[in-house]
């Protein structure tokens, strides 16, 4: 009986049904979209990797892995092993594969950079052993001929026959003879690939004629991968490894899954959770409004003999039905959202390697229960309150909502607020933040109705004078039920709070990193070191570093080279530097020993890393290089500043013999006293033109460029947070249209006594704008406070390097304006609909 009544009720009040469903849908769509996007990326990247290894039955490679970061290279292996592998029974074909750094320089002399690794290698003639397929042209036949991927060809408008330079990282003049696709894609994700012939790859990429990167093996028909791998392994020396193809691709897929994708998935899930919380408040408020509208209905049912439990059950059944239907719709909407997000990320420079859309059962199994439960919980309190309606209310006529605000609520709110503020100011630290954030938010939400009642009047007093009758109407509606106004603004408040905390955080981080970089870099000029890929991807030839050292007026120079190795068996990012005059290039704030002239076995370690490992000056540690070689290093210096240089520094000479890729991620130059920076900079830039023109910057320029690197990430986060704001605005639009529906007679009366449509529209739009502004302003204040607490907490946790508290005033001003305009836009549709109401039917509406 109850279910039938619930269904009938829902159907009879379609406007409310739509309103409630929309609130749920908005929240679940984002969760669904986030999951779909993550699954899509996972499957796309996995697919790309599997494609690239599909025909390879066994991979022979160096046994030493210094890092499991995807895309990083192991050391090379002996080239003579190729023939030995070919001789193993069951091997149908074995091809040497060389892969290293290779950056194509466009016709304009600028490097064709992108959002992925820049690789070069050899063209593998056996199609089973390479995923690359020639689209046009032919395979390289001479060492100065290359095939490039189609994405790079498109980017640089390159065709076979063009002569370009490839930086490997030294400049190599080449002729493009072909353009290839990765399977049927233009390229592998956002990366690029340049294929020399084997001879060219050995000479320019491997730079060691005795070595190759790996060996790709195709098994003879009927030979088992595992068995063949075992057979090959027996023919190999101890530092070399034969791995079945499936295991190799599995390893690569796992590396991406555990690395980038895990981060990405967590990231999206966090934002989905934020969106869901914002949506939950929006849903809760919508249910409250509807419950208030139904007061008389419920009272009538109670008067006719329905028990409190029956009324409650009916409300919950309705909520569940809405939860189920709207969550399912949200699930579907998530597919579209995922596609949209992908495009949006791409337009702000964060291209995701994703093809198609992957919809997994797990997505449905997450979104549906979450959506239904959130809906049920959000509906619980309003339903409980609704069930407490006295039957006599039905006879009394008015009394939709209690206008009085319970004192208890105000007192509890003030207490929470005071506790939160106190904890944030005095407590500090992560614990302080963890207590302050929920306490302050809950306090604000509890105090909000009283605050609106007390402050809303004076604050909006000017509105009637400025906007006339519509302004007065908007003001009256805003103040008529402070609790409802507060409820409508809650989602907005939460959204703006989160965005503000994040904006403060990003600005402080930027300023902090800028200040640190400024402190640590003592040289006047920096080459490179600011590509979006960071230290790992880009770089330039050490030859450039050497040549700049010859420029008159340059006192000393060092390249910074990524020397990631195993330190005591654990993967650690080290930097290899020219340490002779390191103190002239960096202010490392040395706390013990020396950081210059590290020599072939000296290592400088940051104070914090030394503390973690229990090292003191003179301690020794074993380092395993990518080529498998092991060497003991002695700690000769301890330093405090880790910006730019990281935790471990060794000398270039100790690294060079163990590394295949000689690539300087950045070069720092110290000029002789009295030399004009501009003159030297121009000269460095002139030389850098031969090496793909990596950026040359003075110290401030470098600081700014490093800050820019944060920008893409910040933009992505803003996009995601903007969605939370959209949900909040959707909530405002939703409740406004419910309110307009509820006030049909009022609107009809207004029109009857002479309010123009435009005036009705204007009044409602002002109302929604004011709600948005109230939410945004309160969110801004709360967000600034919590941001301040958070920055202090992080500064405290991070020994020494306290972050400065920076207020990004421009962004925040934009945020509030966006909130206000958003409120205006959100109100536009309900307002337009209300203005179109036929006068006569409105006045006689029930």
């Amino acid at each position: 009986m109850l279910i039938r009544l619930s269904l009938a009720n829902l159907w009879a009040r379609k406007r409310r049904l739509v309103g409630l469903s929309l609130a749920v849908l908005l929240g679940t769509a984002f969760l669904s979209g986030a999951l779909v996007l993550a699954d899509t990326m996972s499957s796309s990247i996995g697919g790309l990797i599997r494609d690239s290894g599909a025909g390879t039955d066994v991979v022979v490679r160096n046994a030493t892995a210094v890092t499991d970061r995807p895309g990083s290279q192991r050391g090379g292996i002996d080239a003579a092993l190729v023939d030995r592998v070919r001789a193993v029974p069951g091997v149908a074909a074995a091809e040497p594969v060389i892969q290293g750094y290779g950056q194509v320089v466009g016709k304009d002399g600028k490097a064709l950079t992108g959002n992925g690794p820049r690789t070069a290698g050899n063209w593998v003639p056996d199609p089973a052993l390479t995923p690359y397929r020639l689209a046009t042209g032919r395979a390289p036949a001479k060492s100065d001929e290359v095939v490039i991927d189609r994405a790079t060809a498109k980017q640089g408008h390159l065709v076979p026959g063009d002569r370009v330079t490839v930086l490997t990282p030294g400049p190599v003049p080449v002729t493009i003879v072909g353009v290839a696709t990765f399977g049927d894609e233009d390229a592998f994700g956002g990366g690029s690939y340049t294929a020399f012939d084997l001879e060219g790859a050995r000479r320019y990429v491997q730079r060691d004629p005795g070595k190759v990167g790996t060996i790709a093996v195709r098994a003879a028909a009927g030979t088992d991968q595992k068995e063949l791998a075992g057979r090959i392994q027996r023919a190999l020396p101890a530092d070399t490894q034969a791995l079945p193809g499936k295991a190799a691709t599995g390893e690569a897929v796992d590396a991406v899954e555990d690395g980038f994708l895990k981060v990405f998935r967590t990231f999206l899930t966090v934002f989905a959770a934020i969106a869901l919380v914002v949506a939950a408040f929006s849903i809760n408020h919508t249910f409250s409004v509807v419950a208030a509208q139904r007061t008389r209905e419920v009272a009538l049912m109670r008067a006719l003999g329905a028990s409190r439990g029956q009324v409650l059950r009916q409300a919950l059944i309705e909520a569940l039905l809405i939860g189920v239907v709207a969550s399912a719709a949200g699930l579907a909407a998530g597919l579209g959202l995922a596609a949209g997000l992908k495009e949006l990320f791409a337009t702000i420079g964060f291209t995701l390697p994703a093809r198609g859309l992957v919809f997994k059962a797990a997505t449905a199994l997450t979104v549906l229960p979450v959506g239904i439960l959130v809906t049920a919980f959000a509906a619980l309190v309003p339903a409980l309150r609704g069930s407490r309606v006295a039957p006599v209310t039905a006879l009394r006529g008015a009394g939709a909502e209690q206008a009085r605000l319970p004192r208890r609520r105000l007192v509890a709110g003030l207490a929470l607020l005071a506790a939160g503020l106190g904890m944030g100011i005095v407590g500090g630290g992560m614990v302080g933040l963890a207590v302050a954030a929920p306490a302050v938010l809950a306090g604000v939400l509890l105090v909000a109705p009283a605050g609106i009642r007390a402050a809303g009047g004076p604050l909006t007093a000017l509105l009637p004078r400025l906007r006339g009758a519509p302004g007065a109407l908007a003001r009256g509606n805003l103040l008529r039920s402070p609790r409802r106004t507060a409820g409508a603004a809650t989602a907005m408040l939460l959204g703006i709070t989160i965005v503000t905390v994040f904006a403060v955080f990003a600005a402080s981080l930027k300023e902090g990193s800028g200040a640190e970089t400024r402190k640590v870099v003592a040289g006047q000029l920096v080459i490179g070191g600011s590509s979006p890929a960071g230290w790992a991807g880009g770089g330039h030839s050490p030859e450039l570093t050497r040549r700049t050292a010859q420029i008159p007026g340059v006192e000393t120079v060092s390249g910074l080279r990524n020397a990631t190795s195993l330190v005591d068996g654990q993967s650690r990012q080290m930097l290899a530097v020219d340490s002779a005059r390191l103190d002239r290039l960096f202010n490392l704030d040395v706390t013990g020993g020396r950081v210059t002239a590290l020599g072939p076995a000296g290592m400088a370690v940051s104070k914090s890393a030394a503390k973690d490992r229990g090292w003191v000056l003179g301690s020794t540690t074993e380092v395993t290089f990518p080529d498998g070689a092991r060497q003991r290093f002695t700690v000769t210096g301890l330093y405090d500043r880790t910006a730019i240089v990281g935790d471990y520094l060794i000398d270039r000479t100790a690294w060079e013999s163990h590394a295949d890729a000689a690539l300087d991620a950045a070069t720092v130059l110290r000029l002789a006293p009295g030399v004009a920076t501009g003159t030297v900079k121009a000269e460095v830039q002139r030389i850098a033109k031969d090496y793909g023109a990596p950026p040359v910057r003075d110290r401030e320029g470098f600081v700014a460029a490093r800050a820019e690197m944060l920008q893409t990430l910040v933009a992505v986060v803003y996009v995601l947070l903007a969605l939370a704001l959209l949900i909040a605005l959707g909530g405002i639009a939703n409740t406004l249209s419910l309110a307009a529906h509820e006030r049909t007679r009022e609107l009809g009366l207004l029109r009857a006594i002479g309010a123009a449509r435009a005036q009705v529209r204007s009044a409602l739009r002002w109302e929604s704008t004011l709600v948005a502004v109230i939410g945004a302003a309160a969110g801004l204040v709360v967000g600034l406070f919590l941001g301040w607490v958070a920055i202090r907490a992080i500064g405290g946790a991070n020994t020494g390097a306290a972050l400065p508290f920076a207020i990004p005033s421009v962004q925040l001003a934009v945020l509030v304006v966006v909130g206000a305009v958003g409120g205006l836009v959100a109100g536009a549709r309900p307002a337009a609909r209300a203005a179109r109401l036929p006068v006569l039917r409105s006045i006689s509406a029930e």
Binding site: G468, A469, L479, R480, E746, A752, I753, G754
Partner: protein
């Protein structure tokens, strides 16, 4: 039937051969059927009739709230059918005063704000002297800062009457203004409307089904089945009641014949 109540006085509002048809096909209802009538200036006219006689529809058409299917409606010399929605809105705001049966006031505004609402919608200030006089006439001096929720039903209707009068409209249209009031509060509101005609020279058109209310008017127009059935000058409640009973008998007779 064509009615010209008083040909010596110009009409404040006039309906000429007005028909109003609701619905289509089989469900067609003729709410007004070829009605022609004028309401002279400075008079208090009541419109009566049984439920469904079309009396409210006539008022709505005269006020420009409802469009006529056929015929023409005039307010003064303005023909309403040719006006746009915007012009009709302005006409209601500036030239007509309304009093409805219930829900006359905006709950978020004070009594005073409600009274001056049409003026503030027009972006004008009400004439203070006239406002004082109207407020005094309806006896609300002490209640101006109260919200409708804090006023009794009779007080609320008096606020509505004040709002209708304060703009000095060409005609005040009242739709069952006493329908929700007890007899004492109702009498106060009706006396107010009577005074508005006698002392302020206002024109009032009132739809009612209450013979006592009709007794306050200068004349009563009777509607039945969408047509004008009769006109009574200087009505008293008893005479009106008798006339209405006759309608009931006709209706009952029609029912007995199975029509």
């Amino acid at each position: 039937m064509t009615t010209n109540i008083d040909p010596t006085v110009p009409d404040a509002a006039r309906a000429v051969r007005v028909s109003r048809v609701h619905g289509e096909g089989d469900t067609t209802v003729r709410a007004l059927d070829d009605v022609t009538i004028g309401f002279p200036r400075g008079r208090f006219t009541a419109v009566m009739g049984p439920s469904g006689s079309g009396k409210s529809t006539l008022l709505h058409c005269l006020a420009g709230l409802d469009a006529v299917t056929d015929g023409a409606v005039y307010l003064g010399d303005t023909e309403l059918g040719s006006l746009s929605d915007r012009q009709l809105t302005r006409l209601r705001r500036d030239r007509i005063g309304f009093v409805f049966q219930a829900f006359n006031l905006l709950p978020t505004m004070t009594a005073l704000e409600n009274i001056v609402l049409p003026a503030s919608l027009a972006g004008r200030r009400s004439d203070p002297a006239w406002l004082d006089r109207v407020v005094a006439a309806v006896g609300l001096e002490q209640r101006l800062q109260h919200r409708p929720g804090e006023l009794s039903g009779g007080q609320q209707q008096r606020v509505a009457v004040a709002r209708a009068l304060v703009g000095r409209p060409e005609i005040v249209m009242a739709d069952e203004p006493t329908g929700n009031l007890d007899s004492r509060a109702g009498a106060e509101v009706l006396a107010l409307l009577r005074d508005a005609v006698d002392e302020l020279g206002q024109t009032v058109l009132m739809v009612t089904h209450d013979p006592v209310a009709a007794g306050y008017a200068d004349g009563v127009v009777f509607l039945a089945d969408g047509r004008i059935a009769d006109y009574m000058e200087a009505p008293t409640p008893d005479r009106v009641l008798d006339r209405m009973k006759a309608f009931d008998r006709v209706a009952a007779g029609a029912g007995a014949r199975g029509e």
